[in-house]
Amino acid sequence: MIGYLPGRSSLHRAHPYTPLAVAAGLLFLAFAFRSPAAVWAVVVAAAAFAAAGGVLGAVLRPAAMLALPTWILLTVLHGLLGGPPHLALGPLALSAPGVERALVFGGRIAAILFAFLTALATVAPPRLVEAMTARGVPFGRIYLLVSTLTVVPRMRARVRQIIDAQQCRGLRIGGSPLARVRALGPLVVPLVLSALAEVDEQALALDVRGGSAAGRRTALAPPADHAGDRLVRWTVLVGVVAAYAWKFAGAGR
């Protein structure tokens, strides 16, 4: 399941910035290490993160589905087609450095997916909006990140309407590749033009509701930022900096 999953875990109750910071930290850590053991330790940490949010089971399936095709390709690309020396595994000759590369890259993907799917599952969008407003994040940024997602379902519905309407007018959806490319115009142009036609009204409506207001907006239900939250975020930052310092000092392998 991709998306927010309501719950009462420590991650759900934390300040919304905290799970996001941990996910970002795990992303950076995944790229800091080059040995399969270290990278998969990060994967385990990401899985523990998911467990802390009570979403490990829920996140496992989408993560696996997103990662599996990539893992298969990695195995083929690096494991089978990599350079010497080779290990014999039954009838297959796997490249040793190739397998190592595949494990590292595969682990990175797994860590990133676990980390961010967990953050997505434990951070409720309205709480995030409140947290950003309370911190004084400019309205424009919040608007783009949150308001766009609410516009997407309407736009998808309009795409279906346009496809139906144009088909009634004789547009063919199938056929030769060239015909299909030609069909792009009559589908894309009406979508964009109808959206552009609403721009003035939307801008006016926002302006009237104070969208242009320069001052600090009132947050109605700002999430509490406990000492524990701040400690976790600082620890993540320190950990990432330390890992990269270690990597660039040459001690990392």
């Binding site: 969008p125 309205p126 909006v129 407003t133 309205f139 919040i142 608007y143 949150v146 308001s147 766009t148 997602l149 609410t150 516009v151 379902p153 309407r154 609403e198 003035d200 009204e201 939307q202 801008a203 006016l204 409506a205 926002l206 302006d207 009237v208 509701r209 104070g210 969208g211 207001a213 001052g215 600090r216 907006r217 009132t218 947050a219 109605l220």
Partner: protein
């Protein structure tokens, strides 16, 4: 009565347009009144709303000639389509309505009080915890009006606000306008719905090709509603009844 908006020989031309949308319009809008604007498409009714409310040329571009005095900056505007007027940032109706006052940086209690009061006034307090995306067109338009009223505007401008509402919803919306005016605001509403306008407007402005051709009480200006035409054909003396209720009242006497 205080004049809220004074237009003296005002003309307006949209950017890139050869034809002026408004020509030589002189009118005064007083606080505490409901003023209707009628005219065919292209007559300049919508433009008059934007100019009177101070939205043109500020947000539309274009050139304004003549003199305009707008005694207040607190202007609200409502358009016909509810969906495009949502901020998209709120997951509850209460949050959507509170967005306006919150943008002004008022304290939290004041913001919530204003929002709750607006919801009650519009008869949609029971929808406070609902997700705006799940509301019907009529309910949503009421929420939009509540969102604008929550900012306590001195001038409320409405452009065909009931266009997408069913008859009951439209009746309800127009019935609100006199109570908004009774609280001291000025209401300016443009619509082709002359019957409903006749019930609530103190004064009506009729536009044709950008010029103000008639101005006066509803009974004098709006004599082309279906009911009025029937009454005139039946030989009814002036002032003609403009809507069904007035006609029934006249017959009863």
């Amino acid at each position: 009565m205080t004049a809220l908006v004074t237009l003296e020989r005002v003309g307006f031309r949209y950017p890139g347009s050869a034809r002026p949308a408004l020509r030589d319009v002189s009118v005064t809008i007083d606080a505490g009144t409901v003023t209707g604007v009628t005219g065919l498409v292209g007559s300049g009714a919508s433009t008059l709303l934007l100019v009177a409310g101070g939205f043109a040329p500020r947000l539309t571009g274009g050139a304004l000639t003549g003199t305009r005095h707008l005694a207040t900056e607190r202007v609200g505007i409502v358009f016909a389509t509810p969906w495009t007027q949502l901020t998209g940032l709120a997951s509850t109706v209460l949050g959507e309505v509170a967005f306006g006052p919150a943008s002004l940086g008022r304290p939290r209690e004041a913001v919530l009080a204003a929002a709750e009061r607006a919801l009650r006034d519009l008869g949609v307090a029971h929808l406070a915890e609902r997700d705006p995306a799940t509301l019907s067109g009529g309910e949503l338009q009421r929420v939009v009006v509540a969102s604008v009223l929550a900012m306590a505007p001195d001038l409320l401008v409405l452009d065909d606000p009931a266009a997408e509402l069913d008859p009951a919803g439209a009746d309800g919306l127009y019935a609100l306008l006199p109570s908004v005016a009774a609280r001291g605001a000025a209401v300016l509403v443009a619509t082709p719905d002359t019957e409903r306008l006749a019930r609530v407007a103190d004064r009506v402005l009729a536009l044709e090709d950008g010029r103000l051709v008639r101005a006066g009480p509803a009974t004098a200006v709006l004599d082309d509603t279906d009911v009025a035409r029937i009454a005139r054909a039946a030989g009814c003396p002036a002032p003609l009844p403009l809507d069904v209720a007035a006609a029934l009242g006249r017959i009863a006497r």
